[in-house]
């Protein structure tokens, strides 16, 4: 920046150079994304609309026209929405606790948040199947303290699915919200109070708007991760709760219908993009 200012006194020229260097910095990541993301995506789109007799919308008609597949889409959406909602409800207060914590307490809390990220999703999902099965730790504990007499069915229920999903995606909600909350100037709530705002009014008029960028980032992350989760529904609920992800896998691996799998992939992508774009728009309106 300084170099540019010294060597190029004209503001227009320096702005040009800045733009050029910005493009330069973005180029490597752009190329990588183009090769590993944009190109496959274009192929996916192509496969989803090309049948044996040229262009066709058969796969989309099947997906969006049969009650079974509408149910599948609804399952994915439901998993994404429930996970996002519960994760947010847990993460928002937790982020404030984390931001208020100091020293060793904060380090320990952050470590408990980060360390599970090092373990594979499969390991975590399996851990939940062990915890939740009929002779699992949770049932044994509940029976031991006399809350229940016979083991209750937990594994392969929607509750198990959502519990596991919330647990696995929690860090992706807490971290962006915590990052914003930690930046919050403690004088702002004080200023609001001296201006006559009760704690509740301060919360909704000052704290929520100022932490909204973190909330939106967390919601976008967790929703797009949970709506497209594959391992979690496969291990924690299985066949009776088909989602778009499991449908895609089946189409490619078992049914050998790459066109249909591609179409399901496009629908899933569209849902995720829609939510992320909506979040981004909300953020822009606020910013």
């Amino acid at each position: 920046m300084t170099d540019v200012a010294i060597s190029a006194p004209s503001p227009a020229a320096s702005a040009d150079r800045e733009r050029l260097s910005a493009i330069g910095f973005a180029l490597p990541s752009f190329l990588i994304l183009a090769c590993v993301f944009a190109l496959p995506l274009a192929l996916l789109l192509g496969v989803s609309v090309i049948g044996p007799d040229g262009l066709t919308l058969t796969h989309y008609r099947r997906l969006l026209g049969t009650p079974y597949y509408l149910g599948v889409i609804w399952n994915s959406l439901r998993l994404g929405l429930l996970t996002t909602l519960i994760t947010f409800a847990v993460s928002y207060p937790a982020s404030f606790a984390l931001a208020r914590a100091r020293g060793a307490v904060r380090s320990i809390l952050l470590a408990t948040l980060f360390l599970p990220l090092a373990a594979s999703v499969i390991v975590k999902a399996f851990a939940w199947t062990i915890l939740l099965r009929s002779d699992g730790v949770v049932n044994q504990f509940l029976m031991a303290i006399g809350v229940i007499e016979d083991p209750i069915r937990m594994i392969f229920t929607e509750t198990a699915l959502v519990v596991g999903s919330v647990n696995i995606f929690l860090p992706f909600m807490i971290l962006p919200i915590f990052a914003v909350v930690a930046q919050l100037d403690p004088r702002l709530p004080e200023a609001a109070a001296t201006l006559g705002a009760s704690p509740l009014v301060t919360f909704f008029r000052v704290i929520v708007p100022l932490t909204l960028p973190g909330i939106i980032a967390g919601v976008a992350l967790v929703f797009s991760l949970s709506v497209s989760a594959y391992v979690v529904p496969t291990l924690l609920i299985g066949e009776k709760y088909p989602t778009l992800s499991t449908t895609i896998a089946k189409a490619y691996l078992l049914a050998r219908e790459p066109g249909f799998g591609a179409a399901a992939g496009v629908v899933l992508l569209a849902i995720a993009i829609l939510v992320v774009a909506l979040s981004a728009r909300l953020a822009r309106e606020q910013a």
């Binding site: 004088r187 004080e190 200023a191 609001a192 109070a193 001296t194 201006l195 009760s198």
Partner: protein, 359 residues
């Protein structure tokens, strides 16, 4: 302009943080329309006292009364105070007008009234043209004005300024001091400033409370504070001075004779013989010409510092003592460094304070 009736009363307020006593039985009474500064070094308790008045800190003991209402346990949002914070604490998600309107909106005022009040407040601080701007697009001085407009828009019973000008650069700060004082007088506002800047205190206030270690050491008008400091601390904190340590050898008619390492000096004060004291005088009273009823000390000029309208002359009086004289351009021959000089000053302008263990 000020009513005689007390408007804000701080009575016997104490506050401790752990083992530290931050406020030690503080009493302070302020009339309506008065501008008072809490002046002191960091850690003297001035900000805590301000926060106790705002309701942002809860005193451990004592009472606060504002506009005839006991508010010691009243939460800040029900106090009707206006606070201008050190770094302004403006809401970054709102525009200039949005910030100024905040206090009126949460009070549920009708929209037309809010708009009118916001316009009036912004006009007062000369920012009407920036109403739609974002806070991040403003300079420090402009943000300061928005913070002020936001605080006055709600018509508070008292305005509290917590080091509100300290983030501005020197020239802007000096301009703001004068402008702010005029504006507050126009509004007949009651205001308390917290600052560690003595110039700000002297410029802005009707009265200055010098605070030290959780207590108010002196509460007086700027002129009296400067010319009749009540303690060595107040003397040191406001303005420059010559200070010479000594021992009282005689006391008569409100005057003491003090033996010092640079000779016997006379000063105003009443002390028992043998008391350790510090004899002090303001630099503008020291003159290179002898006068009757004066103290006089000889020394060698250590440095001469030209400061525009005045010149400060630092004199080494020997035995580790120095004299500080302020000479104006009109004083004939300006001394030069290294020159021998004899400085004299009136006994009536010489104070004696009990020697304190701290400087």
């Amino acid at each position: 302009m000020t009513d005689a009736a007390p408007h804000l009363i701080v009575r016997n307020v104490s506050k401790r943080f752990g083992a530290t006593t931050v406020l030690d039985r503080v009493d302070l009474t302020i009339r309506r329309g008065e501008l008072v500064t809490l002046l002191g070094p960091s850690g003297c308790g001035k900000t805590t006292l301000l926060r106790a008045i705002a309701g942002l800190a809860q005193p451990d003991a004592g009472q606060v009364e504002l506009a005839g209402r006991e508010i010691t346990r009243v939460p800040p949002h029900r106090r009707n105070v206006g606070v201008v914070f050190q770094n302004y604490a403006l809401f970054p998600h709102l525009t200039v007008a949005g910030n100024v309107a905040f206090g009126l909106k949460v009070r549920g005022r009708p929209k037309a009234e809010i708009d009118a009040e916001v316009e009036r407040a912004l006009a007062l601080v000369k920012l009407a043209h920036l109403a739609k701007r974002r806070i991040s697009a403003l300079s420090g001085g402009q943000q300061q004005r928005v913070a002020l407009a936001r605080a006055i828009a709600v018509g508070p019973d008292v305005l509290l300024f917590d080091e509100a000008l300290s983030a501005l650069d020197r020239k802007l700060r000096e301009e703001m001091q004068v402008e702010l004082r005029r504006l507050l007088q126009e509004l007949r506002a009651t205001a308390i400033f917290v600052t560690h800047d003595q110039d700000e205190a002297l410029t802005m206030s009707d009265r200055v409370a010098v605070m030290n270690r959780g207590r108010i050491e002196q509460l007086a008008g700027p002129r009296e504070l400067y010319s009749r400091p009540a303690s060595l601390f107040a003397l040191n904190f406001v303005g420059l001075s010559t200070r010479i340590a000594g021992t009282v050898v005689g006391s008569r008619d409100g005057k003491v004779q003090v033996d010092t390492k640079v000779g016997r000096l006379a000063a105003i004060g009443t002390f028992q013989t043998g008391s350790p004291v510090v004899v002090a005088a303001r630099p503008e009273h020291l003159r290179p010409t002898a006068t009757p009823d004066a103290n006089a000390v000889s020394g060698r000029v250590r440095s001469v510092v030209f400061q525009g309208s005045r010149t400060l002359v630092d004199v080494d009086a020997g035995a580790g003592e120095s004299l500080l004289a302020e000479l104006s351009g009109r004083d004939a021959a300006m001394p030069r460094a290294g020159q021998d000089i004899r400085l004299a000053w009136p006994i009536a302008e010489t104070f004696a304070f009990p020697a304190e263990p701290h400087p």
